[in-house]
């Protein structure tokens, strides 16, 4: 039997998608971004939440995915799916090469190094105009297609993005609930203890970094197809800040936190649009309130019930 903790978020996401589909193309676009960010944050959660390492540079891999898919599809006539997979492989290899030396660093130093990675790729996407068309951006990226059938409308794409986001969460959760996932959690808990139990820390961190990069790359590719246009700004510092807000708001290190955070951070500004110049203030105030009352993120709130249960067990 599937527990309610799994069914409830899936049902909520489906209902939300249904509401979005009924509310017109603007809502569909907002939700689409939310699901793309869900994929990005699920990967980031893998590295930051499960493994406890900081990365401020995941936007670099989203850029590789986004530009890779844009160039392969618009200029070389590739199908979106092969382009998505090939760019994921490229991102994975890039993560392997970058991660091998970088992941020797810890804490703030790792954060700085990965931040630099994001900035370097951002600069490249601006300066290498023959490849990326610089500030002009890359337009004419075809929409997603599956098995030769093009998902021409945003509505169809939204459903595809929902399925992909849920699939991404499924994979991430499956990886977490395993010997490998436990080893990552061990590293997050205490590197010294993990080592003393025979866990190869460097190797595990590197694999987690590569997995996070694969998610980021896929998110970048999906963004390019969903919007049909990309520019350097898309994969800039804003993306990093945005994804961090989502991760901490939703609940870092939890299964559903990335999706909850991605949806709220995407929808909230739109819901507050009526407040006009007060919009940003109201938005940030709400974010702060959520973090005060749910410091472990919104997904962490469900553990309140679980905690009560285990306490009762102990008394029994």
């Amino acid at each position: 039997m599937i527990p309610w903790r799994t069914l409830l978020p899936i049902a909520a996401a489906i209902v939300l998608t249904g509401i979005g589909l009924l509310s017109g193309s603007y809502a569909v676009t907002v939700l689409g971004f939310a699901f793309i960010y869900t994929i990005f944050c699920t990967g980031l959660n893998f590295f930051m939440g499960y493994t406890g390492q900081a990365s401020f540079g995941q936007s670099a891999f989203a850029a590789i995915g986004g530009y890779g898919s844009a160039i392969l599809c618009a200029d070389y006539g590739w199908g979106p799916l092969p382009a998505l997979i090939v760019t994921m492989v490229i991102s994975g290899i890039a993560a392997l090469l970058v991660g091998y030396p970088t992941l020797r660093l810890r804490g703030h130093y790792l954060a700085m190094a990965t931040f630099a990675l994001g900035l370097i790729v951002y600069e490249i996407s601006i300066e290498w105009t023959s490849l990326t068309q610089g500030y002009m951006g890359y337009s004419g990226v075809p929409p997603l297609s599956l098995l030769g059938y093009e998902l021409g409308t945003v509505e169809q794409q939204l459903v595809a993005l929902l399925v992909l986001a849920l699939f991404g969460i499924f994979i991430s959760n499956r990886l977490r609930q395993s010997r490998f996932g436990r080893a990552l959690a061990a590293i997050a808990g205490s590197e010294a203890a993990a080592r003393a139990l025979g866990i190869d820390i460097a190797r595990c961190k590197l694999i987690a970094f590569v997995i996070a990069a694969l998610y980021a790359s896929a998110a970048g590719s999906l963004f390019a197809h969903f919007v049909g246009f990309i520019s350097p700004e898309v994969f800039g510092v804003t993306m990093v800040v945005q994804s961090f807000a989502m991760l901490y708001l939703g609940g870092i290190g939890t299964t559903w936190g990335p999706m909850i955070g991605a949806i709220i951070v995407s929808i909230l500004p739109e819901a507050l649009r009526g407040l006009q110049e007060m919009q940003d203030i109201a938005y940030t105030a709400i974010l702060i309130f959520i973090l005060i009352f749910a410091p472990r993120g919104l997904a962490g709130l469900s553990s309140l019930f679980a905690r009560g249960k285990s306490r009762k067990l102990e008394e029994a």
Binding site: F180, R182, A185, A186, A188, A193
Partner: protein, 257 residues
Amino acid sequence: MALLSVQNETKRFGGLLANDAISFDVKEGELLAVIGPNGAGKTTLFNVISGFFPPTTGSIHFDGRDITGASPHRVASSGLIRTYQLVQLFKQLTVLENVEIGSHRVTEGGVFSALLRPPSMRRQEEEVRATARELLRFVGLEKQADMPADSLPYGRQRLLEVARALAAKPRLLLLDEPAAGLNMQETAALAEVIRRIHAGGTTVILIEHDMSLVMQIAQRIVVLDFGRKIAEGTPDEIKAHPDVIAAYLGGTETLDA
């Protein structure tokens, strides 16, 4: 043949000689205690044996293989498992999951088997869980299995750390002051657990300050003082050893008129 053989091990930190030409052997199935005043170099010795520091000179052989300077996870993989003086639990995880992680060394599988979950993997997962529950019963924590590790009182956290180390099926278990910070009751419970681990065939090296605990359970004792081994023998021999008495009672401070 000795399971662990420490030969002329010296560890220098700049001008500080933490371990000075220490040699001793541990036989399979033995329970050895390492004692000595604060700063005698006991924890440094453990860190060198378990691969956390390479020795400056000398060698460490485990199970006939040279493990001098091998990385900690390699040493642990070969079956030499240590615990820490200050408990190092995975605090956010449940008590059960802490012990499950302990089984890393004796299980297999990476990313692909986690994704595909072949039947062998599922069987292994069931075994890991069953073993973890059994070990929690062994140390008396089975009722706390689903609680977060950091919600346990300190004494129980120590027992959890021991259970986690046992999940790795150690051939040699290094316990670094397991009774530190425990009250008498907890120490007695711990002594019982260590005795049963040893009775189960696991070789144990114990660093300990609690003399009554050491004298009760150790078969052989190595005494360190100022980084040097000053004595080695049975508890009775150690109790009567003049250098040990001097080290513990401060006999080095002679009064010259």
